[in-house]
């Protein structure tokens, strides 16, 4: 096999100075950025498959035990859920602005929009905490203190709550991880680690954040609005 060992056309000399943020295994920043972005998309694909298992189970039991799912759903707090939907959607917008600002190299704007995203994410988590503690107080935690005294079949209503807690819990964990990552990004932005050539972490985190938002946009109607809005 004849292989030329001359540097590839777009390759760099080993000793040429590379910016600190460029990793040694890449030839240039384009390659590094493309790799990072493809990696994030693939990661989101695995997330889709992971949540897919929940949604499949949910769909099957929703059609099997529709009555119980309606009763369980109508017992959730649509107001808080709705508020959280607004909070997350808005945070997606601020996140998109943060990415744009990073692209343009406007450090202060990046900081402001990331902080806004962080605050909205915190609002979501606080709301979730309030909702969960109400459920705990009402004795609606499956396998822990579940006691159904109202109408309907307690066993399958518990199943609804099982899905509710698993799905929103896993989603909440994703929000929480997101918040930690925002703090990390804020520190890096503060330290001037990013440039207009290298802001891939912010951009890819944005993808993650939009994904988390998107999952909630499915979860909200599927969990809170079964059988229509309770009046």
């Amino acid at each position: 096999m004849s292989v030329s060992t001359e540097a590839a056309a777009h390759g760099h000399d080993e000793h040429a100075a590379h910016p600190e943020y460029m990793r040694h295994q890449f030839d240039d920043m384009d390659q590094q950025n493309d790799a990072a972005s493809l990696g994030m998309w693939l990661f989101l694909l695995t997330e889709v498959m992971f949540f897919g298992g929940f949604f499949l189970g949910y769909s099957i039991y929703r059609s099997e035990y529709y009555e119980s799912f309606v009763i369980g759903s109508q017992n959730l707090d649509v107001f808080l859920g709705g508020l959280n939907t607004v909070a997350l959607i808005t945070s997606s917008v601020t996140m998109a602005f943060a990415v744009r600002a990073a692209q343009l190299g406007k450090k202060n704007h990046v900081l402001i929009f990331l902080v806004l995203t962080l605050v909205l994410g915190l609002v979501f988590m606080v709301n979730k905490y309030i909702e969960y503690s109400h459920k705990l107080h009402d004795g609606l935690i499956p396998g822990y203190n579940f006691l159904w005294t109202g109408l309907g079949d307690g066993q399958t209503i518990q199943l609804f709550y099982g899905f509710y807690f698993c799905m929103t819990g896993t989603h909440g964990l994703h929000v929480l991880i997101g918040l930690v990552l925002i703090v990390w990004l804020l520190i890096r932005v503060w330290q001037d680690k990013f440039t207009t050539e290298y802001y891939a972490p912010i951009e890819n985190f944005g993808l993650y954040w939009h994904f988390v938002d998107l999952v909630w946009i499915f979860l909200f109607p599927l969990l809170y609005l079964i059988g229509g809005l309770a009046v």
């Binding site: 292989v3 001359e6 000399d13 080993e14 990793r23 890449f26 790799a35 990696g39 694909l45 695995t46």
Partner: protein
């Protein structure tokens, strides 16, 4: 039988600097960002798990040497076969070729300095070890008795063993596999050296790509499935337990949606190895390159639509069963395409019989038996008779041990000189290959017969008339176990005492062979540009002297 190793007359010296002597500290291994070192970390870890899994296998065969229960009670036997399956599948076979040789060789093959995300790569190994710790803990605390399949509601409600620990072990190891797959896909997409177009990639790289696709798409599903099972066990909500309103067949669907594709995670890398080895030792351009490459991808894709063949008797609709039966048989087509292409490559090749080639030839035969018996099982009517008998056990051991493990051995022997810079003793290596082949067949062929006669799997006692076949199987297992110890000894021996191999002891094509053995720490000083096709063996046959000169030039470079 002539071998290439016998022809290599030239004296070689070890390179001065390589990735092994770049640093010696423990930290330089445990915090390494070098894909080659990560590959070796995996090699050591999976060898450890192979030993544990093998110990359980020995216990199983020991118990089955007699029809009565003499060594173990039913409960202990359940633990033995469950731990055997869990350890071998999740902690040996799934990571085996991808995590060791995918990591070590694949980036070299495409002329990359490393995988796309070296830190993530190291993290995958740590996740693997973290999951493995749960596995070891499970063993130490008395094991788990659900089988590797974790079927509900037994696992989620009735079993009194360490189901959650074992479930966590597989769950965590799964994330290791997801991240490895993701890393490889990005590496193959973005890190190929100029000139290596998709259809100039070595077939091992195609195998890695198809495998990674399954890891990325399938593994998250087993993660969620095991998570739901554990939630049900912990919280008693009826997801899978019919007594609580759940559906146990849903578990089986979810489980096999991953675990059938997972069997291709185990075999596709092996097929990639075999393509490399067959071409190198037949000294011929591989026959039907595009067909082999595309059959890997089509196996990966079709593999996602056949899971129902594990549920023929589980209460799945008969129409669904018919569709699954049909698609399952379709999968046999790309598998057969590979086998025919390998045969055509060997045909009129200049074949030499070094150890890697012996394993590769063994693979072709054993995998064919395994695959064809798979087609028997895909026939719904026949499967009602054969399901959960030793026929199934024999089927999957032919593909998993006869196929995947044999391919692993082929890879180990093919790339060992590249990894260590040394040759292993030729006679011993060929003897071990023969012993493994013989021991394997003696172990598992009788299981086809005893299974066909109706012996169910997963029981520790059986009627006396099946003892002869079982003794044959246990005797074969003894040979097999001994045969696996031989390479462990001579490979370790070769590290210090083996003849120095030089960069390319097999005179094989491929970028990994132009590097020194062991390769330098950063692989290629400058990104190579590739102009030739892979498997360009024509030149090698016609002009061996020319080739030698090339080799010298490379050493000086």
């Amino acid at each position: 039988m002539s071998t290439i190793a016998q022809q290599g007359a030239a004296e070689h010296r070890m390179p001065r600097d390589h990735f092994l002597n770049a640093a010696y500290t423990i930290k330089s291994w445990l915090l390494t960002m070098d894909h080659k070192r990560v590959g070796l970390l995996y090699l050591i870890s999976i060898t450890f798990f192979f030993l544990i899994g093998g110990t359980f296998a020995s216990l199983i065969r020991l118990e089955l040497a007699t029809p009565e229960a003499d060594l173990m009670e039913a409960d202990q036997y359940n633990v033995a076969f469950s731990m055997h399956g869990i350890v071998m599948i999740f902690f040996f076979l799934i990571p085996s070729i991808p995590a060791v040789f995918g990591n070590f060789i694949m980036p070299l093959m495409i002329g990359a300095k490393d995988v796309a995300f070296p830190k993530l790569n190291l993290m995958s190994w740590y996740l693997f070890i973290f999951g493995g710790t749960f596995g070891v803990l499970t063993t130490l605390l008395g094991g788990v008795d659900t089988g590797w399949t974790f079927y509900t509601p037994f696992s989620s409600t009735y079993s009194n063993s360490n189901v959650i620990l074992a479930g966590m072990a597989a769950f965590i190891a799964g994330f290791s596999s997801i991240l490895t797959g993701l890393n490889f896909m990005v590496t193959i997409h973005k890190m190929r050296a100029p000139g290596i177009t998709w259809f100039k990639m070595p077939l091992f790289v195609w195998g890695m790509y198809a495998t990674s696709l399954i890891m990325v798409l399938g593994t998250p599903v087993i993660a969620i499935t095991l998570a739901l099972m554990m939630v049900e066990r912990g919280l008693h909500i009826g997801i899978f337990d019919p007594a609580l309103g759940g559906d146990p067949v849903l578990f089986q669907h979810l489980f096999w949606f991953y675990s059938h594709p997972a069997v291709y995670i185990m075999i596709l890398p092996g097929m990639g190895v075999i393509s490399e080895v067959i071409a190198a030792f037949s000294r011929k351009r591989i026959f039907g390159y595009e067909f082999i490459a595309m059959s890997s991808v089509s196996i990966a894709v079709l593999g996602f639509f056949v899971w129902g063949h594990h549920l023929f008797v589980s209460g799945q609709s008969i129409y669904a069963g018919m569709v699954f039966s049909f698609i399952t048989m379709l999968v046999a087509v790309p598998s057969a395409i590979k086998v025919f292409n390998w045969m055509a490559t060997i045909y009129r090749g200049s074949v030499s019989y070094d150890a890697p080639m012996l394993y590769a030839l063994g693979f072709i035969g054993l995998f064919s038996v395994g695959g064809l018996t798979g087609v028997f099982l895909a026939i719904m009517g026949l499967d009602i008779h054969m399901h959960d008998t030793y026929f199934v056990v024999a089927h999957f051991h032919y593909v998993m041990v006869g196929g995947a493990v044999t391919a692993f051995m082929a890879a180990l022997h093919f790339w060992w000189p590249k990894i260590s810079g040394r040759m292993y003793p030729e006679g011993w290596s060929r003897l071990a290959a023969f012993l493994i082949f013989a021991g394997f067949n003696l172990t598992f062929f009788p299981q086809f017969i005893v299974g066909y006669l109706g012996m169910p799997r997963r029981y520790h006692v059986y009627p006396e008339e099946w003892q002869l076949l079982n003794i044959m199987s246990s005797a074969g297992a003894t040979i097999l176990a001994a045969a696996f110890i031989v390479p462990a000894i001579y490979l370790a021996w070769s590290l210090k005492n083996g003849k120095i191999s030089g960069p390319n002891p097999w005179r094989a094509t491929g970028l990994e062979w132009i590097l020194s053995s062991p390769p330098p720490e950063h692989n290629f000083p400058t990104t190579p540009i590739v102009e030739e096709e892979p498997y360009d063996y024509g030149e090698v046959i016609d002009n061996p002297v020319h080739e030698e000169e090339h080799e010298k030039e490379r050493e000086h470079a």
